[in-house]
């Protein structure tokens, strides 16, 4: 019964991952692809990647992007999950109904929508700010090298936040009410109840979100493609964009692309191992 699964995992996951390793040690460009012969080049691709200042810029941007998005997602997810848990407030029920909407938006469409929001001349955000009288000159959200990376982080958080909120909200509903009632009888105020009951009970789910979202934010791609294409300058070059451009834009260096993708994969792999060993709950298996 597992034959199809094993075949597919082998063909689409295991083999390509191993083959990417193979490619990363060979010289592979378009000419070599046409001939079908790849010359062994040892660690050459890796040293070229590691000597490329653009790779280090991309890595630095990836780390900043990940830190910013994951931190804000966790803070927002806990706050919004607590908010939609207030079932006696009618606006909370509205929020709860709408919360999953961003999950339905394709990442590339999300990117383009925010490209329209951010547009310097024609953007929707600037229009809103003009209309409310908050600014008098247009703001260059994604065209300014100092703010571009954060400008791309906002749409990414917007799209991926529902996942985190859903997980925190599910965990909140698992906390026994008696704990809160008992604490209230003992005279604990709302802040104490949050610090001493809610937060400890959410620790595990926060760790899960932290690891999953870190691993996925490391590989952010669509929003970069749609909003900034790595620009202005190299302000939003991230690791996945680097591998993509090195490989699929001229001069199409597949070997170097594989090497850089492998470095990214190894970093994510380390995160995955931590997740599996310490966090993914093996309740029954």
């Amino acid at each position: 019964m597992n034959v199809p699964t094993l075949l597919l995992l082998g063909a689409v996951l295991a083999y390509p991952v191993i083959y990417a390793g193979y490619l990363s040690f060979h010289r592979v460009g378009l000419a070599q692809l046409r001939r079908g012969e790849f010359a062994f080049s040892g660690w050459d691709n890796y040293s070229r990647v590691l000597e490329d200042p653009l790779f280090w810029t991309a890595l630095k941007n990836t780390l900043i992007f990940t830190a910013v998005t994951v931190t804000s997602e966790i803070v927002l997810a806990v706050a919004i999950a607590l908010l939609i848990n207030q079932t006696s407030v009618w606006t909370s029920r509205v929020t709860r109904f709408l919360i999953l909407l961003p999950y339905a938006v394709p990442p590339i469409a999300n990117g383009l929508i925010w490209a329209f929001m951010y547009s310097f001349q024609f953007g929707f955000l600037n229009r809103l700010l003009f209309a409310t009288g908050l600014v008098h000159d247009p703001v260059n959200w994604s065209g300014n090298p100092d703010t571009a990376l954060y400008a791309v982080a906002v749409p990414y958080v917007w799209r991926t936040l529902p996942f985190a909120i859903i997980l925190v909200h599910a965990a909140l509903q698992g906390i026994p009410r008696e704990l809160y009632e008992q604490a209230a009888i003992d005279g604990a105020n709302a802040w104490h109840r949050f610090r001493r009951i809610t937060m400890p009970m959410l620790r595990q789910i926060i760790a899960i979100i932290l690891i999953l979202r870190t691993a996925f934010a490391f590989a952010v791609f669509e929003e970069i493609l749609a909003i900034t294409q790595g620009g202005p300058g190299d302000a939003t070059w991230v690791a996945a964009w680097y591998s993509y451009k090195i490989t699929f834009a001229p001069p199409n260096n597949f070997g170097m692309g594989s090497a850089s993708a492998y470095i990214l994969a190894l970093m994510i792999g380390a995160i995955a191992l931590v997740y599996m060993r310490f966090i993914y709950r093996r309740v029954t298996l």
Binding site: L13, L33, V89, A115
Partner: protein, 295 residues
């Protein structure tokens, strides 16, 4: 459980208002952008609501550029990919439906064996799936491109379907395995004593009981597959085989396409999954939670 005081309620209402505005803002933007002409977007760059509303953006996309409408009167150039909207929509539908069905078929078989048979190798398979979920697409794309190129499988829907099924299978198994585990084994054992094979017991007893989990898993896989960009982008460069996200991505950097047309096609592309999410919210919530924490 604790009645909020009037001040607290006011603060909560305000907080909700902020969250709702944040959620809806991009959706309002895409809608407002899609219902006006290029001219009206450019005429007054400080205006939020358009001076006049038009459906011409949708008309030009949905008639493959044949009916240009008033706002495209003077447009001499329309990108080819706008004209292939129906083909892209059909390709996206074919890919997403096939990927969902294949993933559910293979995924439920594997998830079931993982839940029922506690061997070293099933445990290993589960762990492999957990690690596999983290593999970034970009790492797979480079070797997949090279392999598919050498097989001549570039520019075909089946190549994309196989690649996406393999890529999403681990996630499906993670969602399904914990659910199969909650179905009592006694039911199948009774059937097997009556002479039912394991496969028959699986099909006639386990699958009907697992419908909610299959629905949850299916809708999540469909959505991810409908959204997937990198796999079809790299494997399929020919317009006949593009999926919707690829067509949208091809508009990036096309200087002749203005925001009004972009927003219209974005709106058409996000509509199906928005409807799905609105209708099947409960299942998606359960599936997302199951896939991340249980095992």
């Amino acid at each position: 459980m604790f009645k909020p005081s009037p001040t607290t309620r006011l603060i909560l209402h305000l907080a909700n208002l902020m969250v709702i505005v944040f959620i809806l803002l991009p959706l309002v933007a895409v809608f407002i952008g899609a219902i006006q002409s290029e001219k009206s977007l450019q005429a007054d760059t400080r205006r939020v609501l358009p001076a006049e509303v038009t459906a011409d953006n949708f008309v030009v996309i949905l008639t493959k550029g044949e009916q240009k409408g008033r706002i495209f009167d003077q447009a001499t150039y329309l990108p080819e990919n706008i004209k292939s909207f129906y083909a892209a929509f059909a390709n996206s539908a074919i890919v997403s439906v096939s990927v969902t069905l294949l993933t559910l078929l293979f995924g439920s078989l594997s998830a079931y064996t993982i839940a029922r048979q506690r061997f070293r190798w099933t445990l290993f398979l589960m762990q492999a799936n957990i690690v596999a979920r983290f593999v970034p697409v970009i790492v797979l794309m480079i070797p997949l491109y090279v392999v598919m190129r050498s097989f001549g499988a570039l520019n075909s829907l089946s190549g994309v379907i196989v690649a996406e099924t393999g890529f999403l299978l681990p996630y499906a198994i993670l969602i399904l395995a914990p659910y199969f585990d909650t179905i009592p084994a006694e039911l199948e054992e009774a059937a097997r004593i009556d002479g039912c094979s394991r496969l028959r017991a699986f099909i006639y007893i386990v699958i009907p009981l697992a419908t909610p989990a299959l629905a949850a898993c299916g809708v999540i896989i469909f959505i991810i597959s409908w959204h997937e960009l990198l796999i079809p982008l790299i494997l399929n460069a020919r317009p006949d085989f593009m999926t919707l996200p690829v067509v949208i991505a091809s508009l990036v950097g096309d200087v002749h396409v203005f925001f009004n047309l972009m927003m219209a096609i974005c709106l058409l592309a996000l509509a199906p999954t928005v409807v799905l999410v609105a209708l099947l919210q409960k299942y998606i919530v359960e599936g997302l939670a199951a896939g991340a924490v249980k095992g």
